[in-house]
Amino acid sequence: MARAKTGFPFASIEQINNSQLRANLKSATSAIREKRAKVVGEKQDWEELRRKGERIKNEVLASLDEYLLELEESVTKVGGVVHWAADSSEANRIILSLIQEHGESEVIKVKSLTTDELHLNEYLANHGISAVETDLAELIVQLAHDKPSHILVPAIHKSRSEIKELFENTISKGKVLGDGPAELAEASRLYLREKFLSAKVAVSGVNFAVAETGTVCIVESEGNGRMCLTLPKVLISVMGIEKVLPKLDDLAVFLELLPRSSTGERMNPYTSTWTGVHTGDGPEEFHLVILDNRRSHVLADPVGRQALRCIRCSACLNVCPVYERSGGHAYGSVYPGPIGAILSPQLFATEASLSLPWASTLCGACYEVCPVRIDIPRVLVHLREKVISEGYKSKSEEVSFGVIALILRSGRRFELIQRVATQIRRPLNRVLLTVSLPGALGKWRAARQVPEIPDETFRMWWRANRSDNGS
């Protein structure tokens, strides 16, 4: 079977030729990268924390069925209702029927990648229910009928003037806004406050759920999460099966790892935990939807399963040279970047997502920053092998790698080819850099900057300048 003409190699071309997007991404990722490095540097026990995080998640995965049962029991004991969803359509049906039971046609939402994975908003819209995103960036993306481009800052591809225009046409109709971020945030505050005060049902994701106590945790910055978790009568929270933690003390470990890795803060402004239903404070009904959606399939792969340790911090996006140039949309998945490149093909296995293990230079920067030490490069190579062995082969790739192998196998052959290339570098450079190339070669070059062939090879330079030094 040939690889489909979709997926990352094709989707990324448009993105990397958008210089505005690339500039936005570069300044955003480098700013968050620096903040992270600073606050991680403050923790002398950071490596120990990472290893703890890794160990706790591995322990959870090794006995996942038992922890899920324990969580179900604890949540039920404190007045919550647990639902099990094998896939996205079952999760959507459960959520829809809960909303319909309360006769609501509008719900408020806390930013949640899991509900993005379910395409819950579209599903609810098709059934006459509007789901209002309350995180500022998610709201921007929703109003623009756009898609998130970054896990943490989903509207990073939008400029302030675009947002101003968008708000003037939607939530601030008839008003003239300035384009200062504070004024735009204020416009969203006014619009959303009304929603918060009137909504009866809220839908959220889950950052962590503690099996021992049934405690659920959400971390956020703006206060929209607190609004959704506190004011409505009914709260529906959706979690992937891998989000469970054994004990409260384990939660404390992740409350150190997540904010420093994610926003580069010592702690995010607001973290909420709740343990079932609390009389006189917060929702009267709490529903926890536990979602599989092929996570159990990922669990069955002993190398690939470490992707389930992910806590969605997005540190790997910010250090990835490929993400910085392609942006999140090129990955065609709710999970972009290095973690998306190993999670999406395993979770979704669509033809397009099977191209993602190649969307990497294998430089390893993602592994170094991962707070739960997911060896992303290793899983990428493993998935490449798996995808190829399952028959997704490309003839031209096979031929070209055959030729490359032939050359690289012998030092003398490699030198000979290099020497020939420098001899004919002028016409060759012209062909490689300017002339439009046919077929696979042309497509390959369209997304890359090919370096010019230099006047001399390193070996030639060494011989001329250093060989008399005796080495």
Binding site: N24, T213, L231, L251, T273, T275, D375
Partner: protein, 223 residues
């Protein structure tokens, strides 16, 4: 109601999970074993001055970094410090939880003070300017106030809807790091960790202080 609809999936999911683990349990650790660790950075971490500082000093410093207003005083000064902070803000009403030490608010002048009875609607609370609370404990390293719905902290909505939050923290209740949080506070009640005023960086990554939660945070450290 739900039992009938998702019993089958419950069993099916648990079976899939068990099968996934059974099949490969022997190689469970192979995902991480035998791989060189590039994780450890080459340069040593900077020696933190945090270690030399008392938890209270560190807490204050981190709070200031969050652009919170911080005052430190002795027990008997609490009423006057709160009154002084109020006097400099445009506040006409404030809500307090029923268990708050009533002497703390004695010196506040010209402001409508409302004791939360637990029944006010969110809309009513949203029209109140300020809230004054105690806290269960605080975390120095992260500048975090820990609220756990005790009588002097109130229910969650009262510290969420007003725009000004005044919180009294006793220095003996300040713990150093997040690690021991759950040894000091019970999760039976809802817990809210507050680290600075609400904020967003969603537009061009420019930080805007104050979105939905209180936009102004005042912390009074006692002792």
């Amino acid at each position: 109601m739900e039992a009938s609809s998702n019993r089958p999936s419950r069993g099916a999911i648990l079976e899939l999970v068990k099968a996934a683990l059974r099949e490969k349990s022997a190689s469970h650790n192979s995902a991480t074993a035998g791989v060189a660790t590039p994780g450890a950075p080459g340069t040593p971490f900077p020696i933190m001055k945090q270690l030399e500082q008392s938890a209270t000093d560190l807490f204050k410093e981190v709070l200031l970094d969050y652009k919170a207003t911080v005052r430190r005083c002795e027990e008997h000064q609490i009423p006057s410090v709160i009154a002084e902070l109020f006097a400099h803000q445009e506040i006409s009403s404030a809500v307090i939880p029923s268990g708050l030490d009533s002497s703390w608010i004695e010196q506040i002048k010209g402001i409508e003070l409302i004791v939360d009875d637990g029944f006010r609607s969110a809309g009513e609370l949203a029209s109140i300017d300020a809230v004054i609370t105690g806290c269960a404990c605080a975390i120095a390293e992260t500048g975090t106030l820990v609220l756990s719905c005790q009588p002097d902290e109130g229910r969650r909505a009262i510290t969420l809807l007003p725009d000004f939050h005044f919180c009294v923290v006793r220095s003996q209740a300040i713990i150093r790091g997040v690690k021991d949080l759950f040894k000091h506070v019970s999760a039976t009640n809802p817990i809210t960790l507050i680290s600075g005023p609400s904020a967003t960086s969603d537009i061009e990554l420019k930080r805007v202080e104050g979105v939905h939660g209180p936009r102004n945070l005042f912390v009074i450290i006692v002792g």
